[in-house]
């Protein structure tokens, strides 16, 4: 498959990101940092150790991952909706000699890149203002979760931005589906807090594999292979679905 068109679209999105980076980063970093300060610092005296690590350390990897995946999702869903329904730039791409698949892959790459840049930026800020430290080799294992995780959410955003025509629907899906999926996946508490009957179901969620696996990789220095495979396979399936759904929508 040719990817010239994907690269041109990704390059366009990165130009716009670069132009708006300072203001984007302030907005993106504000939310997770507020949570970190409120929970990690404000509550640490009450919570103590969770699974053998201080609470601030326990939630830090999840906050970085959450920033990355929500940024990937938001960029993909809003960008695709905006370019398709408001600016009509998708149609202007479609009358050039590139394929529909190239367009959607370009947008997936852009969402993924947004997630990665913003997640790493929040990671750097947390690293700078807190005592949170980890060995460099842990970071490599952590990226094995963050990269497919961002890709998965970017593809999910593409699917929503493709099938949803009204912005309020997009907002509702984010509030009712995406955020609960993130928050209930052990971002702020260990999975052992769930009733035992629920644990297998929660562990089966790709978001649990992402957040739990990322935490184990970054804090504990272990590489949970099953979780990593679960995130990678989910990302791959969502990618195939996103391309297929976008192609079908464009053929309508």
């Amino acid at each position: 498959m040719r990817l010239r068109g994907s690269f041109a679209i990704w390059r366009r999105d990165m130009l716009v990101l670069r132009r708006n980076l300072p203001s984007e980063l302030v907005a993106v970093a504000a939310y997770p940092l507020t949570i970190y300060l409120a929970f990690g610092i404000g509550m640490k005296g009450y919570i103590g150790l969770v699974e053998g690590v201080p609470y601030g350390l326990f939630i830090a990897p999840g906050l970085i991952s959450m920033t990355a995946v929500t940024a990937a999702y938001s960029e993909s869903v809003w960008s695709l909706w905006f370019h398709r329904r408001v600016q009509f730039t998708i149609d202007s791409y479609r009358v050039t000699p590139i394929s529909v698949s190239e367009i959607v892959i370009g947008k997936i790459l852009s969402g993924f890149s947004h997630g990665l840049v913003k997640g790493l930026a929040v990671g750097l800020v947390i690293f700078a203002i807190t005592p949170f430290r980890f060995p460099l080799e842990h970071l490599m294992a952590y990226l094995a979760f963050l990269i497919p995780g961002s890709a998965f959410f970017s593809c999910a955003g593409i699917i929503c931005g493709t099938v949803m025509d009204k912005p309020e629907t997009i907002g509702r899906v984010e509030a009712v589906f995406i955020m609960p999926l993130i928050f209930m996946s052990g971002l702020f508490f260990p999975l052992s807090s769930y009733p035992p009957a629920l644990v297998p179901w929660v562990r089966a969620l790709p978001t649990t594999a992402l957040f739990e696996g990322a935490r184990q990789a970054l804090v504990g220095g272990v590489f949970p292979l099953v979780f990593a495979l679960q995130v990678a396979v989910t990302a791959l399936c969502t990618f195939v679905a996103a391309v297929w759904i976008f192609r079908r929508k464009m053929a309508e």
Partner: protein, 309 residues
């Protein structure tokens, strides 16, 4: 040499709604072709099929001899499209919009940079190339969209209502540009402004309810409406009714209509004019003029005067 556009029995259905029905059309290379029709006539559907944005339900459509169903990428290399909506990227400057388009067409940087410089100069946008399209007037935005469509030197340019919403000066600027590139490429134009079609197009098709209902040059369409006859307006100083009664008796007068001091006379053939003048010998005639049918009259007579949704 293949036709620039050829459609055969082209049909498009959206569920129970038929947007195009058995549509036959042939457009010669290098011509300016106008497609007219009321709202919902099927013009945009036809353009979307020809520009490969949409697939037909049945029938064939060829652009420069290439099949729209199987050779979309090759077709899109050859066409430029100015859509109804501006579709400019408001987060990119004018120049960046053009650069993105060039990259999507696979143009090399050294080639497109020079071409962009030339076109921006030609379209009077060189001084604003680093500005964002949101800061442009409607006319400038439209010129930028036209510039974008021409960047890769297309052989066929689709203009879907290119001057809608423009002031008369901007509209004429777009017309001038269309005339200047005519001949070097085929231009396929849809418009609601009948004057625009009359001014620019070599041939015009009128469609309604998804069907082609008339095709020809402006003159041919007007003659078809008037049955080839000639209509003259005769203005009298007084007694228009009386002289109208005299003319009504003449064999070569097909139709007569009185409006105040003016009598509108439709003749079977222009040679009858001398008989009419002879019959009016001594009448207080102030002016005799040939009344040409407008394209708007042709359009309304073919598509009806009712407002479409």
């Amino acid at each position: 040499m293949p036709s620039a556009i050829l459609t055969r029995s082209l049909t498009k259905q959206y569920g129970p709604l038929t947007a195009l029905t058995d549509f036959h059309l042939e457009v010669d290379q290098g011509s300016i072709f106008g497609l007219l029709g009321p709202n919902g006539a099927g013009k945009t559907t036809l353009i979307r099929i020809l520009t490969t944005l949409m697939r037909q339900s049945s029938g064939d459509a060829f652009v420069e001899g290439l099949d729209t169903r199987t050779q979309g990428r090759e077709i899109r290399r050859l066409i430029g499209v100015v859509p109804q909506e501006n579709s400019l990227d408001r987060y990119l400057t004018a120049r960046e919009n053009l650069e993105l388009h060039a990259r999507l067409h696979g143009m090399e940087a050294r080639h497109y940079r020079q071409r962009i410089d030339e076109l921006l100069e030609l379209m009077g946008l060189a001084g604003r190339q680093k500005d964002f399209p949101d800061t442009f007037s409607g006319g400038m935005q439209r010129r930028l969209v036209v510039t974008r469509a021409l960047l890769h030197e297309p052989r066929l340019l689709f203009l879907d209502e290119p001057t809608t919403g423009l002031d008369p000066q901007s509209r004429r600027a777009v017309w001038d540009y269309i005339r200047s590139v005519a001949g070097s490429m085929t231009i396929f134009l849809t418009t609601h402004y009948l004057e625009e079609a009359e001014q620019l197009c070599d041939r015009i098709a009128i469609m309604d309810h998804g069907r082609l209902i008339a095709l020809g040059s402006t003159q041919e369409l007007k003659e078809r409406l008037t049955g080839g006859g000639n209509v003259y307006q005769i203005e009298f100083d007084e007694g228009a009714e009386r002289y109208a009664a005299v003319l009504r008796e003449m064999v070569c007068v097909r139709e007569i209509e009185v409006s105040g001091r003016t009598v509108c006379v439709a003749l079977e053939e222009w040679e009858c004019l001398s008989e009419v003048i002879a019959a009016l010998n001594g009448a207080p005639v102030r002016r005799i003029s040939l009344r040409e049918r407008t394209l708007e009259e042709v359009f309304i007579s073919l598509t009806g005067a009712g407002v479409r949704e």
